[in-house]
Structure formats: C-alpha cells, structure tokens
C-alpha cells in the first residue's frame, strides 16, 4: 500500500463516517416503516428538480447555480408531501408501490427532459451524482454541520418519530398528528438523502441507509443496540472498503458497496452461532 494516499483519503473517510452516523439511524426508521426504496425515489425526484432548474433560463444552465439546489430541495419536499399523504389512507395499495412508481416516472421524466436539451446533457446526470473520492474538507464539514442539525431535531422528537415508525396506528390512536410528522420525517430524510447523493452517489447512500440496519436487526431487537451495531458496521465497512479500494485500485464508492455486501453475508453466516448461544442462555 502506498501510504502517500492517506492524506487524500482523510476527507472521504470523514464523509463516510458522517454518512454512517445519520444514515444508520434513519435506516432503522426506513426499515421499520417498510419503505426501503424511499431514498432512491426521493433522490431521483431531487435530481429531476435539479435538471429542470438547469434547463430553465434563470440558472443560465449552470449546475452550480444556487437556484438548482433550491429547486431540487423544493422537489424533495413535494415528494415528501406525496409520500406522507399517500400513507394517510389505509388503502390496499402498498406505499412501496407508490414509491417505486415515483422513482420510475421521475427517472424517465429526467431522460425525456435531457433529450430535449441542447448541450452537455450527458454530463448533467454525472454532476448531480457525487463520487466519495472527490469530497473536500469544506464539503465534509458543511455536511457534518447540516446533518448535525437534522440529528438534533430527530433527537429532540425521537419518541414521536419512533412511535410512528414502530406502530403507526397506535400513534394515531394516541392523538399524534401522524401526517404532519410523516411529512417532517420524509422532508428531513429527503434533505439528507439529496445532500448525500451529491457527495457519494446513489448506490453508496442506499447501502449506508439499509445495510447497517438490516445487519443490526439480525442480532438485536431494541433500538439502542441496533443503533450501536449499525454504527459499528458502517464504520468498519467504510475502513475496509476504502482499504480494498486503495490496495486493489478500485473505484472507492463501488468498493465500499461491495464490502457492505460481503460483510452482510459474513454476518448472516455467523448469526446461527449467536442465536444458539442466546437460546441456550
């Protein structure tokens, strides 16, 4: 291993820890609510907003114009409103179906709009999807601050958020305005996911969200231990993934995603040992 690479990996590694911190927590909610693909869907809706903004005259076609960011955030909030509204009815249609449809239509709309642009369309999609290797310190610190604020918000209202995620009907029966809280959840979640995708790309963000909480569910039932397992796994996988990426010279994001898969398989294989010990006790 060429140690000279280490200083360049510090900011990406810090970013991966920030992603672990917020996503392993949000992942528990997402898995409990059974809305696994909500992040892909919201990210795609946000990308659609960004592409629309770039095509509109007021941004002048510059992907770094602040208008692009606000437009994509606005779209995220619209998506959040849709998801919290759809859940409000005890309909036979599962929410995952709505999420999947939103994803497909938002992706296709982006393609349709890009096909009507004049120039550089092929790069727009890339510019919206980040590469964790390209993270700079200012970007990492900025993100840490933003996610910290979201984290504090979720910590303050953790009981309400958890009550709804674990048992929505009971929370509603207890008089909690679930639709409002659903909107707050999806809006804050969409805000985080959109920023994360611009840092690390869609695949990596999905893994940081879902894999740690799934792994934690195999070994623990209560929220506290599950968070601890999720955070530990996210950190270990980030270190291992970046290590593999350097030693085998692989694209860093893809290396971390594959490591997530490997570690999850490993955990699934050793799980019977733990369960048996637990049963004997």
């Amino acid at each position: 291993m060429d140690w000279a690479i280490l200083p360049f990996l510090a900011a990406p590694f810090a970013a991966s820890l920030i992603l672990t911190g917020i996503h392993a927590y949000l992942g528990i909610h997402v898995v409990e609510r059974g809305v696994i693909f909500v992040d892909l869907s919201l990210a795609q809706i946000a990308a659609l907003g960004a592409i629309l903004a770039i095509l509109l005259p007021f941004t002048g076609g510059d992907p770094h114009d602040p208008g692009v960011y606000w437009m994509s955030l606005g779209f995220t909030f619209i998506g959040a409103a849709v998801f919290s509204f759809v859940h409000g009815r005890r309909a036979r249609i599962p929410q995952e179906a709505i999420i999947g449809i939103s994803y497909a239509v938002a992706s296709a709309l982006a393609v349709v709009m890009l096909s009507k642009t004049t120039s550089e369309a092929e790069h727009l999609k890339d510019m919206l999807v980040g590469n964790i290797l390209g993270v700079t310190w200012p970007k990492a610190l900025n993100t840490a601050f933003l996610y910290g604020a979201i984290g504090v918000f979720h910590y303050l209202f953790r009981r309400t958020f958890l009550a709804i995620s674990l048992d929505r009907e009971r929370a509603a029966a207890d008089g909690v305005p679930v639709r409002l809280w659903d909107f707050l959840f999806y809006a804050s979640f969409g805000f985080v996911v959109t920023s994360s995708v611009s840092i690390a790309g869609v695949l990596l963000v999905f893994c940081y969200l879902i894999v740690p909480s799934v792994a934690a569910m195999m070994f623990a039932d209560r929220i506290g231990p599950r968070l601890a397992i999720g955070w530990t796994m996210g950190t270990v996988v980030s270190i291992l993934g970046i290590y593999f990426s350097v030693v085998l010279d692989l694209p860093t994001g893809a290396a971390i995603v594959c490591t997530f898969g490997l570690v999850l398989i490993g955990l699934a294989l050793v799980r019977p040992l733990f369960v048996r010990i637990g049963a004997r006790r």
Binding site: F8, V111, S119, D249
Partner: protein, 311 residues
C-alpha cells in the same frame, strides 16, 4: 484470511515498486487523461518522460470512474495533458482540485489543454438553440482522430516539455521531427488506401468521428444515438433507417464502449455492416500507438467498404 491479506499487500507493494523505480526521479512525470495523448507524449518525450494515462483506451473518455491511484498520479505529476473542450468535465475537475498539486491546476505551467492549437469542428456560431440538437458549445472534442491534429498536439507537447525541461529541448525536437516524418509517411499510406472510397456515406453511433470523416473524405449522414446515454427516439431510428436505404449507406461505425443492439437491428433492416472502430489507442490490442490506431481503423474501414461495394 490473514494470508490473503498479506498476499494482497505484498502484491500491491511489488506493483508500486515497479511503477515507481528510483531511477525515474529525473524524468518528467506526465499524466494524460486519454491514451491517445499518452501515446503522443511518448513519441515526443521518449525516455525523458514517464507517461501515465488515466482513462483506458477501451473506456468512454466522457465517463471515467476515479480511483485512488488517479489521485496519486495527478498529485505527483509535473504535467497534466487534457483533451479539453469539456470532454472530461464529468470527472476530471474534482480530481485536479483534490490532487493538491499547484503545478497542474488549469492555467499553471504544468497544465496543457491539447485542444488549443488544433482544428476543431462543429463549433456552433451565434446563438445555440434547441433545434440544433446535441451541440458542444466549445466544439467537437474528438479532434485527435485527424492525423493533422495529432501532428499539432505533438507540437504543443514538444513545446510544453521543452518549457518544463529546457535541457532536453534538442532531444524533444529531434524526436518530434522523427515522429512527424513517420506520421507524414503513414498519412500518404492512409490517404492512398481511402482515396478510392472518397464520398463513402457512413452512419456513426455518437458524434465521435467528424474529424476522421473530414480528413478521409467520408460523409456522415446520421447518428444512431445523438446523445450518449439517452436512447434515441423511435422516430429518429425510423428516419435514420429510411435515410440509410435512400442513400444506400453500408457502414455503421460504433465505438467499442457502446451497446451494439441498436446498430445491429439497424444493420438487419438496411443490410449495412456494423464496424467496431476503436477511437483511442489501446481500444484494441493492435492499436498500441497513435499511428497503429489509424492503421487499424483505416484497414478495418477499407476492408468493410470493399466487402460492401464489391470493389
């Protein structure tokens, strides 16, 4: 597991040692974005430079996934040569920013945009409108596929290398002259091979070949997928097939990194031949340097045209 890990580490150390032998300290370290620029730098720089290309020859240079080794290469470079014209806009800027190498930042002495003194086609004039389709505001970035542009790129590289390493000026000048002579000879060969087929009408997958077509007198009448990554509309394909039948187009040129499903189905409709033409050095094993790339492409094209026309 530990054994595997140790093997990995040992292998990585061995590779690192091979890649950076102590003897190269005096050489200029040149990093290029594409293999074509690397090949031209090798022609001029000889053993006074160490050249690494970031993209592989069989990769689409529009889309390259950054790897940790790229950061170190760019960090240690004395010179970065880029295609420019927004070719690498999707992946190079964060790499250059994060390299913490002041020498190769845009505008610095160690940054060479190879497109500055070449002949660029398809530069839009006046207001860009949507009616013009997919237009690069700064012109078509596939300009290296004209040997005369290769000659100009080699000149720019010679001047830049001489500026960065003035003691080797004579060496670079001599190597450049030699390359220029071999390129001129090769060009006579290519011109002769393609002269009987002047005016041959072709369809290309992406807009990668305007300079090549312009140089060798081919006429591009349409594109399979005008925008990469965005599937062409059905009406576009129907029009393209009709136009190919009307003008009796027999060649569809496809870059190796594009899917051949659509070109193949167009070929079934029209009876045309799908040619997999590498646009970059290393795109096929035979194309080991700039001149051999044209040798390969010209031979492939001539053989296909002969087969199609029976001449």
């Amino acid at each position: 597991m530990r054994l595997i890990m140790q093997t990995f580490i040992t292998a990585a150390l061995a590779i690192a040692a091979l890649a950076h032998p102590a003897a190269v300290a005096a050489q200029l370290r040149v990093v290029t974005t594409t293999t074509d620029l690397a090949a031209l730098t090798r022609e001029v720089g000889g053993d006074r430079v160490q050249v690494d290309a970031l993209a592989r020859g069989y990769q689409d240079p529009h889309f390259v996934e950054a790897k940790p080794s790229f950061i170190l290469l760019v960090n240690r470079a004395d010179l970065l040569v880029v295609v420019g014209r927004e070719m690498e806009i999707g992946w190079l800027p964060p790499l250059v920013t994060n390299s913490r190498n002041a020498k190769i930042q845009p505008g610095a002495a160690g940054y060479l945009d190879a497109s500055l003194n070449v002949r660029i086609l398809e530069i839009p004039t006046g207001q860009i409108t949507r009616a013009m389709g997919d237009v690069h505001p700064s012109g078509n970035p596939h300009y290296w596929l004209d040997p005369d542009n290769g000659r100009r790129i080699a000149q720019a590289i010679r001047d830049k290398l001489s500026e960065l390493s003035p003691n080797d000026r004579a060496y670079f000048a001599q190597r450049h002259t030699d390359f220029d002579r071999r390129l001129t000879e090769a060009q006579q060969r290519w011109d002769a091979a393609l002269a009987p087929h002047k005016g041959t009408k072709i369809v290309t997958y992406h807009r990668s070949w305007p300079n090549f077509a312009d140089r060798f007198g081919l006429t591009v009448i349409g594109y399979v997928e005008p925008k990469p990554g965005i599937p062409a509309s059905t009406s576009h394909l129907i029009e393209l097939i009709a136009e190919m039948k009307r003008q009796q187009v027999t060649i569809i040129m496809v870059e190796p990194y594009f899917d051949k499903k659509t070109p193949d189905s167009i070929a079934r409709e029209t009876g045309a031949i799908v040619l997999e033409m590498p646009p970059s050095v290393g795109g096929v094993p035979e194309a080991t340097d700039y001149i051999k790339l044209f040798d390969y492409d010209v031979n492939l094209l001539v053989a296909a045209v002969k087969k199609a026309t029976g001449k």
